[in-house]
Symmetry: C2
């Protein structure tokens, strides 16, 4: 018998039939003698429909009122799932974020969870209830409702698991688990049985969008194992957990996976005046405009000037152009270039730390394919390269094979 937190996304509860399927799944877990806490998102299109309605009434809606509005989507899901479970004969109760003791900071639409007060949930579990908690939301100390931002339901689930001292947290998705590469690109990709938090974090931020990166961070910080499973079958899934618990590390697997992301724009700002504070100004301005910057490279100095390149996931290149025109003139740069015909390929593996030459091997594979590397960044457990988008998927396939990952 274990205490398990299960999280189901909005598409899993999009209609009554799917709602019943989720209830059946949850019920089976309870039937095996487990205590179950379920986190659900809003049903299917609910959130998008509410956003459309709000924008019709106010094109620039305040975040406070949007949070008030958005929180209703999850509240509907939890009540309906509780009713479905009750209809199947289970004891179940729904709790809003506030009722479940999810305390957030004061930041509408992108709040962070500060703490979980588990008292109410513990009472309900002691009564034999399956608990259904509204994901993606919490309250601050004044009782104001805050959402965690899109995808925040994963984080809710992991945080609740930690607050309840659960055995593990299951995240149900539309894929079987975490693969060594995207199976749509690499047909011979394999599902991993285990992956460390650090590897998952890199995979998640590199475009392998199975888990919300913040949920992995939270899981890592508190050592809460996260299991990624499919809501469509009973396959085992992939367990994300502390590396020390994993057999994998002890084997010779140096690279665990190959990640691919073509939702990337490369920006180069030319001839930036090399005075202190210029990079700070550039990236502060981008941050103020909520542009999420990923890789950053500053070239060597040349006559008191140098170039700064960075990548971003921002797809609105027109808006990006306007913004950069303004910023570059302010910081006295010569000009800039935006290239959205690029992709990022990465290799990830905790084994890299103790295995020199992994990056070199990657570069050799690219060289053999005649691929020019435009940017490189490395961390202890990953190497990422920006390359031209055409042919980039073949690079992923070649890397997957070269590092011995093919099934």
């Amino acid at each position: 018998m274990a205490l398990i937190v299960q999280k189901f996304g909005g598409s899993s509860v999009a209609n009554p039939e799917r709602m019943r399927r989720v209830a059946t799944r949850v019920g089976k877990t309870a039937d095996r003698g487990n205590q179950v806490v379920v986190v659900v998102s809003a049903m299917g299109d609910t959130t998008d429909n509410l956003i459309t309605l709000a924008k019709e009434l106010n094109p620039n809606p305040s975040e406070r009122e949007m949070d008030m509005l958005m929180a209703t989507g999850e509240q509907q899901s939890i009540a309906l799932l509780a009713l479905t479970l009750q209809n199947m004969g289970y004891k179940a109760i729904s709790l809003t974020g506030a009722q479940a003791g999810v305390n957030t900071d004061f930041s509408y639409s992108k709040a962070k969870i500060l703490s979980i007060e588990p008292a109410r949930m513990e009472q309900e579990l002691a009564k034999g209830n399956i608990i259904i908690v509204a994901g993606f939301q919490g309250v601050d100390e004044k009782g104001e409702i805050h959402t965690l931002g899109r995808g925040g339901s994963d984080t809710s689930a992991v945080a609740l698991a930690i607050g309840l001292n659960a055995d593990f947290c299951e995240i149900y998705t539309d894929v079987d688990g975490v693969y060594t590469a995207d199976p749509r690109i690499v047909p011979r990709a394999r599902k991993m049985k285990d992956i460390s938090f650090d590897e998952m974090l890199e995979m998640a931020s590199l475009g392998a969008g199975v888990l919300q990166p913040r949920s992995v961070e939270v899981g890592k910080t508190f050592g809460m194992p996260i299991c990624v499973r499919s809501s469509f079958n009973e396959n085992e899934g992939t367990m994300v957990r502390e590396a020390k618990n994993m057999k994998q590390i002890e084997c010779d697997i140096v690279v665990s996976g190959v990640a691919y992301d073509d939702d990337v724009v490369k920006v180069t700002v030319y001839n930036v005046n090399n005075k202190p504070g210029i990079a700070s100004k550039l990236f502060t301005a981008l941050s103020d405009a909520k542009v999420n910057v990923d890789m950053i490279i500053q070239s060597g100095e040349r006559e008191g000037h140098n170039d700064i390149s960075f990548t971003t996931g921002m797809e609105d290149t027109k808006k990006l152009e306007e913004l950069l025109t303004k910023i570059t003139s302010e910081i006295g740069a010569e000009g800039f270039d935006i290239d959205d015909n690029v992709a990022k390929v990465s290799i990830v593996g905790a084994g890299m730390i103790t295995n020199p030459g992994v990056a070199a091997k990657m570069f050799t594979v690219l060289y053999d394919l005649g691929v020019n590397i435009q940017m490189i960044t490395t961390s202890e457990i990953k190497v990422s390269c920006i390359i031209a988008k055409p042919g980039s998927k073949d690079v992923v396939i070649a890397l997957h094979s070269a590092f011995g990952l093919d099934a």
Copy 2:
């Protein structure tokens, strides 16, 4: 400058266009220098759609989860109305029942408001905000969400007005105000400028469904004037208030209005054993089955037996029949009869108390029309008769004229 609470029903905010119309109306009230607190219901069909969805998943949904689900409808309305007002340049903030300090007892789906904690609302008013409060809901001391039952938004609005010590409470409806009779039945019916709480209470419970009876009770207890107005025009409406503030009473108006209700079923239980506790058993069983009983008449004793007649608004005569079959056998009655071909006509007026002969005049009008009176009940300010449904509307017209109410 006044502090005004305004309440708009679900049809007033059913779509973006109507939502904007309500916002314009609210804004105008604020423009005149008033502080405004608005109470809104769920948009149009939202509540019914949620009920349909819930019943598909659970034909016997628990009241606790239904309250969790239903409360989202109002929460959506308040956020959307706040956004609409903000878009028009007003300072506005939405508050859930919990945030507005609406404390209820522990009774899902039909909670009663215990108290209003106005601190948060007072803060927001001091900041110059128009406040939009979710009607129909509150929380108990444990933070559980309760709804007040259908129509409870009127009561929310009046209770908030009392809690805030507002000048008055405006209830916006689809009619201009309170009429001396239903204008669809009596073409010469007139709109009243004023009506006392007691009269309004009788009118409301007698089928003149402009205001929820409980909201009038609450208004009466705390002396909060309620103005019934149309959301479609700027006409003055009818003010419901303490009789002592009204000129009307001083004039010779004995009967203020004629009420009509054909949503009535008359039940007669024959030959009830005249032992103590039989009536108690009968009406306890009906109450347990949530059958709302209105008029009750017990005929004189005859050989240790007598008949009990009562009226109810229950339209499901099949279910009523099953229930009565069970109850009558339990209490040893000879049988029962259900008659749904009846109507209730009533005259209402605070002036009756000091004017004997009003009931007699009413009976004379009915006699002159050849109408047989099946049941009679009286109170200090009303007389009601159950008569056969056919021709009953002509009785209303005749009474309206006989008591000098025609325009």
